[in-house]
């Protein structure tokens, strides 16, 4: 099935690129969306079945795939709206949809691949397709964004490759010759600890570029800023999940060995620095889209903190990143409407958003409550569980530091959002403001509601998947 999906994706991409007909474009995208849903459902019912030797959808992969399918559908709709409102040429529209589809397919494959080397190849493909999305506007700012993204991602990919080489040195002692995660987990205790340490360090550093953590978070910020908002939504949700899946799987191997405390310290340092960096920028940032991107960095920091501390924290980490996948795209989707009203990303040009788009303003307000993890937001539950795990592990200093930083983030986030919503705007010509349809906000409400639903009343299937995924580490 995985191979069939790949071939279908390739065919659709090629025909999108070479065809210029509007009707054909949209019907191909709809066809792909249907195929994606079918693929997700198929993998859910064929969990833990090895396909074509390299792919094995385990619980974590299926969970992330579920989130991916749910987020991709509104992303296609908003991409369609984006194309309609921006008067794109047929060629650039075809390229945009082709790369969007390629990105989604590469991420799907990276989730379900059971082999580190195969996962690495799909990681390269995501860089390739994401860079085409970032360069969509073909101007110098977009060029700068894509240059930074490509360069840092190229270095991160080299780092992961180096890590794989070190891992192969560690494997010499255990006498295994494949990179499947199953084999590595089974023989984890026989791996050479010194090489495993080096391997973990390099692979983790490489994946931080995708997940958005210190030290390589910078690439993602410019990318999400410059990519069109529907693509930015995917970059800040499902692509970050891919980085998480990679780190999770490698950490699962390490957690079965004696170097687990050392690795956990590395994760904690990276997590706290990420939250700190997010705080520093979010308290002074004036570009709304970049603020959303930094907010993702903060959430990834919390996720990794939960993962590193262990106990209930691992469950909380997976739940947190799952819920974050619904919350952050809804803000990015809404940003598109904000931009159409003000024609600017700077907070200084914005204000009185309630007056121009009531439905959208409520989305931003609810999105703010969700993204800062205030109850009744779904992220509140998972963040609370992360703090509980810190408490149980007697990490009081870390807990205090993180809580103070989060408070500052709420202040920074809130001051910008409330300025956008309530204070009068300056220098906006009200006759120029287009009427924004309320229908454009429906998908955002649905995503935010899903995040609440999955947190407070999770279906038993989702809970089982998370618990199954937690077992990889415990």
């Amino acid at each position: 099935m995985a191979i069939l999906f790949l071939i279908a994706t390739l065919l659709i991409c090629v025909s999108l690129y070479f065809n210029k007909n509007t009707f054909v474009h949209y019907s191909l995208v709809v066809l792909y969306a249907v195929g994606l849903i079918f693929f997700g459902v198929y993998e859910y019912y064929h969990i833990n079945e090895i396909e074509f030797q390299f792919f094995k959808p385990d619980a974590l992969a299926v969970l992330m795939l579920l989130a991916l399918v749910i987020v991709s559908l509104p992303a296609f709709y908003h991409a369609y709206r984006y194309m309609v409102t921006h008067d794109e040429t047929q060629r650039s529209r075809g390229l945009f949809f082709a790369t969007l589809i390629a990105l989604i397919a590469a991420i799907c494959m990276a989730y379900i691949s059971n082999n580190l080397a195969v996962m690495w190849i799909f990681l390269e493909l995501t860089t390739l397709s994401a860079s085409a999305l970032i360069y969509h506007h073909r101007n110098i700012r977009a060029l700068e964004g894509v240059w930074k993204y490509v360069f840092i991602c190229a270095i991160s990919i080299t780092f992961i490759y180096t890590g794989i080489l070190f891992l192969s040195l560690a494997m010499k002692k255990a006498e295994i010759d494949t990179f499947t995660f199953d084999a590595l987990m089974a023989h984890a205790s026989e791996l050479d600890p010194f090489w495993l340490k080096l391997a973990f360090l390099f692979i983790f550093t490489g994946f931080t570029a995708k997940m958005g953590l210190v030290p390589m978070y910078t690439a993602g910020i410019d990318a999400k800023d410059k990519a069109p908002a529907p693509a930015g939504a995917l970059l800040s949700s499902i692509l970050m999940n891919m980085g998480f899946v990679g780190i999770y799987r490698v950490y699962a191997i390490v957690s079965k060995t004696e170097i687990q405390p050392w690795a956990s310290t590395i994760l904690i340092i990276s997590a706290i620095l990420s939250i700190f960096v997010a705080t520093v920028y979010m308290t002074r940032i004036k570009n709304i889209k970049r603020m959303f991107a930094y907010s993702s960095i903060e959430h990834m920091g919390i996720v990794i903190l939960g993962l590193a501390v262990g106990g209930i924290g691992i469950y909380a980490a997976i739940l947190h990143i799952f819920l974050h996948t619904f919350v952050k795209p809804s803000l990015f989707f809404q940003f598109n409407q904000v931009y159409r009203v003000y024609q600017s990303k700077s907070i200084y040009d914005m204000g009185h958003y309630f007056k121009y788009n009531k439905a959208g303003a409520v989305v931003l307000l609810l999105g703010f409550i969700s993204a800062t993890a205030m109850p009744p937001s779904g992220l509140f539950i998972s963040e609370f569980l992360v703090f509980q795990s810190l408490f149980e592990a007697h990490r009081f200093i870390i807990l205090a530091v993180v809580l103070i930083l989060l408070t500052m983030i709420i202040w920074g986030f809130g001051s910008n959002i409330f300025k956008l919503l309530f204070t009068p705007s300056t220098g906006i010509d009200e006759k120029q403001v287009p009427r924004i349809s309320s229908w454009d906000s429906v998908s955002q409400y649905a995503l935010l509601a899903l995040a609440v639903y999955f947190a407070y009343n999770p279906p038993s299937g989702v809970v089982e998947l998370i618990q199954e995924a937690v077992k990889l580490i415990q």
């Binding site: 190849i121 860079s131 700012r141 964004g145 240059w147 080489l165 192969s168 410019d222 570009n287």
Partner: protein, 209 residues
């Protein structure tokens, strides 16, 4: 014999740290490509012939000829100034690169793994860190690309350490190479030349907070 080649490879790093002109960097890159070819030929004795031929072809075509010549062409076409424009004086660069090599030698002396060829380890790691140092200490985008290629050469050497047991890893390294060449150079650097007259990293610093 391969040890001698690897040591020459490390010395080329010292030479790169004091090079002034971009063409010198590119010539060193070509030189490194040919040394890699030699090292491959001497080290990978146990893998099958077709695979070896593929690897050798890749090293000679991509690393030693196509990519450096392509970069030379870009330098000429875009009329990039010949100076590398380092942020630090050459003397300091020389000291730092020497220190990198010394530290990796000290690190390798800590390892007690009989399976590992330490020369490979030292040369590849010092290549990696020298490349990172060159990226942060040079001003032009094109020197950043060259430094990235230096990193890649280093990683490629490391893949030799396990090349005989797992030739698949060397092939992955080739994939990385082609990926970087196509993405960074083929599609992308052409565009930079079209949009910017002088590809200088100082022009690409508008995206910030």
């Amino acid at each position: 014999m391969s040890d001698i080649l690897l040591i020459i490879f490390a010395i080329s790093l010292l030479f790169m740290s004091i090079a002034n002109r971009i063409f010198t960097y590119l010539n060193i890159l070509i030189f490194q490509g040919f040394i890699l070819f030699g090292v491959m030929l001497l080290t990978l004795t146990e893998i099958n012939t077709v695979n070896l031929a593929l690897i050798l072809l890749e090293t000679i075509v991509f690393k030693a000829i196509a990519v450096p010549l392509f970069l030379k062409n870009i330098v000429k076409r875009n009329k990039i100034t010949r100076e590398a424009e380092p942020f630090l004086p050459n003397f300091v660069s020389l000291i730092i690169v020497t220190l990198i090599i010394v530290v990796t030698i000290m690190l390798s002396s800590q390892i007690k793994d009989p399976n590992l060829d330490k020369t490979i380890f030292v040369v590849s790691l010092s290549n990696l860190f020298t490349g990172l140092y060159l990226i942060v200490s040079r001003k032009k985008i094109i020197t950043h690309v060259i430094a990235y290629l230096v990193i890649e050469n280093g990683v490629f050497i490391l893949s030799l350490a396990v090349g005989n047991e797992m030739p698949m890893l060397v092939n992955l390294g080739i994939m990385l190479d082609i990926f970087a060449s196509v993405l960074i150079l083929g599609i992308f650097f052409n565009k930079i030349g079209d949009v910017l007259q002088d590809p200088d990293v100082t022009q690409l610093k508008n995206l910030k907070d």
